[in-house]
């Protein structure tokens, strides 16, 4: 693979997608929503991990859609799929049953331990903003072997010292309450500025890579806690020409999600 001129014409979404796809090497079963995670899984299945399988929260396994799906429940995901599962089977047998290697999540707020808030901004009882809530995020966080988080916006209001509300806890909070822990919790956070990583229980998120042209100071200034920086901090390798070609011409040529 040849490298393209760094960053030239590469959008934030393309970069995030490429970075996320590389992190999927070695994983097999991914629980993800539509949009960037789907693009990342598609790209990974063409590059680093041909055996990758995506399971949608709607219950679809082994989708072979005729059109780019617009939601996790798009009718084109069902026609031609390998299996459609009921909710009790999907959440109970597949996810809680321990079959998911990587769960993709988004959130309005994240803290240094990878705890996530998708419920409210402000106090729960009297919120400034009512967000969608957990959906399956609590379950994805509790039961996936590891969790990848994609956060487009990286600033001190999203990367916070203290969550307004903890919807989906990482393993450290679960342990503190006496719970059993099954997975590592959030291990990767991919943002517009760089990559944060965390090895698992008792570890906190560290800055492990910054994207081309982004300074460490800029990341630290936009993180609401005293973010640690990995000793082997890298600059995110730029997308290769082949990665961009696949994304732009094979996966999402009409830029539905790359917009």
């Amino acid at each position: 693979m040849t490298s393209v001129a760094e960053g030239v014409g590469v959008t934030a979404t393309e970069l995030l997608t490429v970075v996320a796809s590389r992190e999927l090497a070695g994983r097999h079963t991914v629980f993800a929503g539509i949009g960037l995670p789907t693009l990342a899984v598609s790209l990974a299945s063409m590059t680093t991990e041909p055996n990758l399988e995506i399971v949608y929260e709607s219950g679809v396994c082994g989708a072979h859609p005729s059109h780019l799906p617009e939601t996790i429940a798009d009718s084109v995901l069902i026609t031609g799929a390998e299996a459609v599962l009921s909710m009790p089977v999907l959440f109970g047998y597949v996810l809680q049953g321990g079959h998911i290697d990587v769960g993709f999540l988004g959130a309005a707020q994240i803290d240094r331990w990878g705890n996530l808030n998708s419920s409210v901004i402000g106090p729960w009882e009297n919120p400034k903003v009512r967000l969608p809530g957990s959906g399956g995020a609590v379950e994805v966080a509790a039961n996936s072997k590891e969790v990848f988080v994609v956060m487009r916006r990286h600033d001190a209001r999203t990367f916070v010292e203290s969550l307004d509300f903890c919807t989906s806890p990482g393993p450290d909070r679960a342990l503190a309450e006496g719970g059993r822990v099954r997975g590592a919790g959030v291990t990767k956070v991919v943002t517009e500025l760089g990559i944060l990583t965390r090895s698992g229980v008792h570890d906190e998120l560290k800055l492990s890579a910054v994207h081309e042209g982004v300074s460490v100071d800029h990341v630290l200034a936009n993180t609401g806690w005293d973010l640690k920086v990995a000793e082997d901090l890298r600059v995110t390798p730029a997308p290769t020409a082949e990665e961009l070609r696949l994304l732009r011409t094979e996966i999402d040529p009409r830029r539905v999600y790359l917009r």
């Binding site: 709607s58 009718s75 069902i78 729960w124 009882e125 809530g133 957990s134 903890c166 450290d172």
Partner: protein
Amino acid sequence: MTIQASATPPKAAPTTKDKTLSMKEAISRYVHDGDVVAIEGFTHAIPTAAGHEIIRQRRKNLTLVRMTADIVADQMLAGGCIATLVSSFVGNSSAGSLGEIRRRIERADPEPLDYQEYSHYGMICRYLAGAQRLPFYPLRSYFGSDLPRIQQGMRKVTSPFPDDDGAFEEIYVVPPINPDVAIVHAQRADRSGNVQMWGLTGIQAEAVFSAKRAIVVVEEVVDDDVIRADPNRTVIPALAVDAVVECPGATHPSFSQGYSDRDNDFYRAWSGISGDKTLLSAWMEEWIYGTADHTEYLAKLGSSTLSRLGVGQALSGRINYGTRLEPALDADDHVKESK
């Protein structure tokens, strides 16, 4: 000769119960002020038309139970039907925001909403407990979450069985949901209420089994023979169903696999409509109070929209359920063939 090879079939109980009702009759008979109403369908097969009829009949003080509280929930709130919402996701799918729900929760405008927040699997387990008439259902969620702090329906139980280390694990449990009525949508049913559904089947069977009464809205009421040709396709058996309502297109703007596609334009437009109280009020007047029933609603939607939402054909294969090859019948067949 085996026993069955020569026996005559016993007659089965006739399917004499006709449970078909119009939407108006079904809502009028089975949904009452103050009821706990479960309306399910996870993005797919949402019985929106039933929500509209509840609004038209001006039901009040309902508890709406719905995993993904989306457009139909926002509409029912706007119609003043809902006092309590039990849900695990409040959002207009991936297409934007729900104006009425947000105003009710964020500003108690026009009145407060009792909002009961769960997670998806928490709701699923509540339906599972409800369907099985259990006092609780265990799940591996909630340790470390703030949800149990604001939600009385998440409590801990200690397992009476030791694990490999001899320890007795604690685990969260949720209480059952037993709605007064559950309303779901499916592609087809017979008149007695054997319901066949494909595509995403979600939590619909559990919602129906958990409820005291159940209304199933279908694209088509079909002949008994259609159902009996494929009994494994029956997701909900007749014994759990009280009313069958034939209402094609009842899911708009959501979709019905193999019958109509999702109206993404409508989903995208809803944020703008529901975000503005005047627009929302006008929309409710025009599309719900201003239509007598779903036939009028669809007519108003118009043929160009309906044809945009039409779908093509991708037929399943056929499987063989098999018949018993009976020597006696074979002999008869030979006689027939030689005639």
